[in-house]
Symmetry: C2
Amino acid sequence: MFTERFLRHKRGAALSAAERARLESGISEVRTYQPRRLVARAGETLTESTLLIDGFMCRYLDDRAGLRQLVAIHVPGDFLDLHAYPLQTLDHDVATITGATAAIIPHSELDIIADAMPELTRKLWFSTLLDAAIHRAWLFRLGRLDAIARVAHFVCETNARLMSAGLSEGRRFALGLTQSDLAEVCGLTTVHVNRVVRQLREEGLCIFRSSLVEILDLERLTIRGQFNPAYLYIEDQAELLPSFTRRK
Amino acid sequence: MFTERFLRHKRGAALSAAERARLESGISEVRTYQPRRLVARAGETLTESTLLIDGFMCRYLDDRAGLRQLVAIHVPGDFLDLHAYPLQTLDHDVATITGATAAIIPHSELDIIADAMPELTRKLWFSTLLDAAIHRAWLFRLGRLDAIARVAHFVCETNARLMSAGLSEGRRFALGLTQSDLAEVCGLTTVHVNRVVRQLREEGLCIFRSSLVEILDLERLTIRGQFNPAYLYIEDQAELLPSFTRRK
DNA sequence: CTTTCGTGATGATGCAGGTTAATTTTGGCT
DNA sequence: AGCCAAAATTAACCTGCATCATCACGAAAG
């Protein structure tokens, strides 16, 4: 069951058994990737899309000097380049962070789904728009938060997404990010990320041990990062969001 | 013809006459808005979407202190909250910048389109993903560019979008932004935007006269802002992109 | 006609985070 | 165990942008 995490616990977008089965049957191949490999390059025309099953991937833009700005981190259950189905070409690069496994679904299968299953199509559309909502939260992070809050916000977001995907108990996770990756996410330098990481540790908010992140005080971390998980569209019913962040 | 600018000159997403007519017939109402008004609030459930016909609007997120981070600027031809169709609720606020006119299309009409016209649905999907691509470019801007480059990048982007929509000859436009709006776009303070604006003028790159922007040297401005318009998915054929930015 | 308010302009000062460079630690490999 | 490259850490220094304050101007309001 490769699609079990796809749209898991997403408000108003749960897949029916038939829809899930249809997606599964559209999988042409399951591919494995080495860590730190380029998977797709900006400007490429894609004829298939990739549902991440295991491991972590990212998307990024390069500046003139070759510095990267990450624009997304993908966790298992994310349909990581589904946007290439309507867009056809990519405007950014895609790469693995850790080793990864992914299911490949040809766009020709998506065409058939689009013709015959409008409700499933709407849910696929939803999943690409969830990525866009996360982009907006990242814009807020870069535009309005200081360095510590940026890292705190990212940790809270990633924690919430992993819980929603059923991949974390809610206080610790490891997604293979180095401090320089974190810098590329947060628009900082690695040196400064290192300072921030130390300060978060000293304030008792969270600890980074190599790639493992352990949250010590989720409530204070949430406040520090001005994190409001509404944009993740996680079902209210599920006990996935700490009470202090639950929407009214 | 309210939809004439929608997806205008967008690569691989041109509307057929029938598709355009179908959209037109889905319009339930044409609404006008005063400048600087809130149009939709984060958390609201929308049952209709809004195609901007005239004027400029924006979307933004608020921080705890009430400071805004703009996450999008919308120009005529943009379907500004189409993402609310699959998402149902909004994760951000929407407001006018100038006075504006917009066509309202109920989601019930979009349901009918989704059932019957998969190709048009794919183009609607495309238009929401174009917004996401612009989000990514904004992430790059905030994460990797310094203040002058951020403003330069934004000016180049807006110029390209307005040209593509047929609303600018290509060197000047007025979208009613104050310097503090520009600050909310670029993650800066108004004071610093003022200095950046002066420097862009002194370097002969572009001039801000109240809300009018006049580009003096598009090529140097493009380089200064590291602007690469590929993410706007504008048709190559159209003479809309300066030669030095045309993709190979 | 004066007051108010929004916008723009400009100077002084301080600090968050960048830059550069060196050193230490870690974790794969053989 | 020993080696090597990648990652983390630390220090010294510097700068871009924020912050705070003031002033000018024009449009709208009373």
